[in-house]
């Protein structure tokens, strides 16, 4: 059992599935079961096909399942083929866009930004998670479980810290009450971004300092895109635009490469 949960993906699948159920049943204009099924099926299928094409025989369906679940939670579409396309694009990017033996972009984030820029048939619903405190707490709880297991929790906290600091600084400059940045920080979709996307251990820098710099850069670019360019999916765009810096940061500030399954010593400790 302990070994099972030591793979952060299992936590992630459990957490994202709970959120998706919540989304189906409790959120108006939320996820649609058919669209979610198509996004997930497309992601799984693409993983199988791409793994075969790359000549590997070990097919692992956990990561594409996470990608499919993330797409279901975050992307809305007006026709069924779009979530399927998102699933395909997400996983294909993982196999096609690689540097130093690993993929550059968070697959779901990449597909979201790609589809938002290519078609008007998709959108994101950042307001739909509301600002309920209990939901925020639930998300934090689920996410901490994931991050503890993934041992990369620092980047989500770095990001939330930087993002929050920018929002508070903006409010201070404008003379706005603290209620405004607090309201902005309580957004459920912000927490989902922080805990399930920017903290993807495969596409974040290996060293802690690099992760700190990366989180800072995403927060700063996201702030610019949101408040100066009026871009709604600002954080996703910021993350994807900056992701190519990860391989660079890994070369400049090298550290141990992340593996989903801990080494024998790690598992037994």
């Amino acid at each position: 059992m302990r070994t099972f949960w030591s793979d952060a993906r299992h936590f992630q699948i459990a957490a994202l599935s709970s959120l998706l159920l919540f989304n189906f049943f409790l959120i108006d204009f939320g996820a649609k079961p058919l669209y979610s099924a198509l996004a997930i099926a497309a992601a799984l299928l693409t993983q199988v096909v791409c793994t075969r094409l790359s000549g590997s025989t070990r097919i692992d369906l956990r990561s594409p399942l996470i990608t499919g679940l993330s797409l279901s939670l975050l992307l809305r579409a007006n026709s069924a083929w779009l979530p399927a396309l998102a699933g395909i694009a997400a996983i294909a990017s993982k196999f096609a866009l690689r540097v130093d033996g690993r993929h550059i972009f968070n697959p779901a984030g990449f597909a979201i930004v790609l589809l938002l820029s290519l078609t008007s048939g998709v959108w994101i619903s950042p307001g739909q998670w509301g600002t309920s405190i209990w939901l925020a707490s639930l998300l934090v709880f689920l996410a901490l479980l994931v991050l503890r297991a993934a041992q990369r929790s620092d980047i989500a906290l770095f990001f939330l810290g930087a993002h929050g600091a920018l929002l508070v600084a903006r409010a201070y400059w404008l003379g706005d009450p603290l209620a405004i940045p607090l309201h902005q920080m309580q957004s459920g979709s912000l927490l989902i971004f922080a805990f399930f996307m920017i903290s993807d251990p495969k596409t974040t820098p290996d060293s802690r300092l690099a992760r700190f710099l990366f989180a800072l850069a995403v927060a700063a670019l996201g702030y610019y895109l949101a408040f100066f360019m009026q871009m709604r999916p600002a954080l996703y765009v910021a993350l994807i635009v900056l992701s190519p810096a990860t391989p660079l940061l890994n070369r400049v500030i090298p550290a141990k490469k992340f593996e989903w399954t801990p080494t024998i010593q790690g598992a037994s400790s």
């Binding site: 509301g130 003379g175 405004i180 709604r232």
Partner: protein, 458 residues
């Protein structure tokens, strides 16, 4: 078997009184005061004398947007003297005279009626004729419910009167400012008394490089127009910000305010990005007496829906392609009407709209989203931001009445049908109790007056 088809639209008493007073300019955003008294306003404020009652508890805003082209039309239930009306709206840029107009009140009322929550009635068929399928027989709607003197400008450092225009009954000024205190002094000296809470909000808008659109009524011109009410004002501009400034409206506000937003877009439904967008409960079967009290029922229903979201929700009451409706609470708007409201992109000639009771294959016209918000400073600290989605799925706030079969029937099926009615009535009573929060006892008593006796209610 065909049944007669009739459509009726009734308005609430409040709406009638508001219409009588004339829909004047808007008050979404603020509650400030003019020299002499309380004011309230849209993204700014309108104003009345100290002894005048404030009436901006509910406002209407039409937001028509394609690309970055935005038209905002502001209407409210302002009932004070026209001479005491004033409006201050933050706008994203300098506004030229050609970007401002007044809109016919009737056009907004038409849009309001078209999108209003509706009650539909069905008559049960003769239980002895099993093939009959019921049809919509009647329809009702509930509609939940505006001469600046010029002291020397050097007295107001940083304030610039960019332009002044005369539009219909309005004297309009476009202001820019560098500091809130200068602007507030200018406003105060020009007849507005600004409560203390407004200064930081105005300061925030100034730092965001917004301009201020200020309007007052020129009484001579208004009298010459021989109109009993003020017309809604419309401002058109290009902006990347799809938002509605609410904050000024919450300053000094006397309790929560209601705002109905009618978003006209090309692609699809509009939703809020920084508050949760939820549907009001819909397609619920309710007791027959609701037909006589629908406005109150809807009001109670909305109060409860707001409470269930802790007053943090933005409620969708209608989301539909403007080209058709089913059932139609009012005729769809014609191209000239849509153009008047800023949706000039709709295809077609200037003729009247054809009422389609089914989706037409014509190119997409306008999609209307009716959003209802109840807000105050605590629950809505931030201005409303929107996103246009490409979701064209229809939604309407619709409540259903089922009239039991009233004719004589003596077959076996009729006995079963009659035996099933008390349970149905009970279910309808429970629905209404859940929607409104009213006690089942009260509901049962009212149902009895229309001959519906819920099971277990004696």
């Amino acid at each position: 078997m065909t049944k007669a088809f009739m459509t009726k639209t009734f308005m609430t008493k409040t709406l009638r009184s508001r219409l009588k007073a004339g829909v004047a300019l808007a008050a979404v955003c603020a509650q400030l005061t003019v020299a002499a008294g309380p004011a309230s306003a849209f993204c700014g404020f309108y104003v009345a004398k100290a002894d005048a009652k404030m009436f901006n508890k509910s406002s209407k805003v039409v937001l028509a947007r394609i690309g970055q082209q935005t038209a905002i039309t502001m209407a409210s239930d302002y009932e004070g003297k026209p001479s005491e009306f004033a409006l201050v709206v933050p706008v994203p840029s300098f506004i030229q005279k050609s970007q401002i107009s007044v809109v016919d009140t009737k056009t907004i009322d038409h849009l309001d009626a078209f999108t209003a929550p509706r009650l539909v009635e069905y008559y049960d068929p003769d239980p002895c004729e099993p093939d009959y399928r019921g049809g919509v027989l009647a329809l009702a709607t509930a509609t939940p419910t505006a001469a600046i003197p010029a002291p020397p400008m050097q007295a107001y450092p940083g304030v610039k009167v960019e332009a002044r225009y005369d539009i219909a009954e309005y004297d309009i000024a476009i202001l820019s400012a560098e500091q809130s205190d200068g602007l507030i002094r200018w406003l105060t000296d020009n007849g507005y008394k600004i409560p203390a809470g407004a200064e930081p909000v105005i300061g925030s808008y100034i730092k965001q490089k917004l301009h201020f659109f200020v309007a007052k009524v020129d009484i001579k011109r208004f009298d010459a127009l021989k109109r009993a009410y003020l017309k809604p004002l419309q401002v058109r501009y290009q902006t990347s910000k799809f938002m509605l400034p609410l904050r000024l409206g919450t300053v000094n506000a006397n309790g929560p305010q209601d705002l109905t937003i009618y978003a006209l877009t090309q692609q699809g439904r509009v939703e809020a990005t920084n508050y949760r967008t939820v549907k009001v409960p819909s397609n619920v079967h309710v007791p027959l007496f609701v037909a006589h009290d629908f406005p109150n029922v809807y009001k109670a229903l909305f109060d409860r829906a707001v409470a269930r979201q802790d007053m943090h929700g933005v409620f969708v009451e209608y989301a539909w392609d403007m080209g058709w409706c089913d059932p139609c609470a009012a005729q769809p708007l014609s191209k000239p009407e849509l153009t008047e409201l800023g949706a000039g992109w709709v295809p077609g000639d200037s003729g009247k709209a054809v009422v389609n009771r089914w989706p037409s294959s014509n190119p997409p016209s306008a999609f209307v989203t009716r959003l209802h918000v109840r807000y105050d400073a605590q629950s809505f600290p931030e201005d409303l931001n929107f996103i246009e989605t490409s979701d064209r799925e229809n939604f309407q706030a619709r409540y259903v009445l089922n009239h039991p079969y009233a004719g004589a029937a003596s077959c076996e099926a009729a006995k079963r049908y009659e035996a099933s009615l008390p349970d149905r009535f009970k279910h309808e009573a429970e629905n209404l109790a859940d929607l409104t929060g009213w006690s089942q006892k009260t509901i049962a008593a009212r149902m009895a007056t229309s001959g519906e006796l819920p099971a277990g209610a004696n």
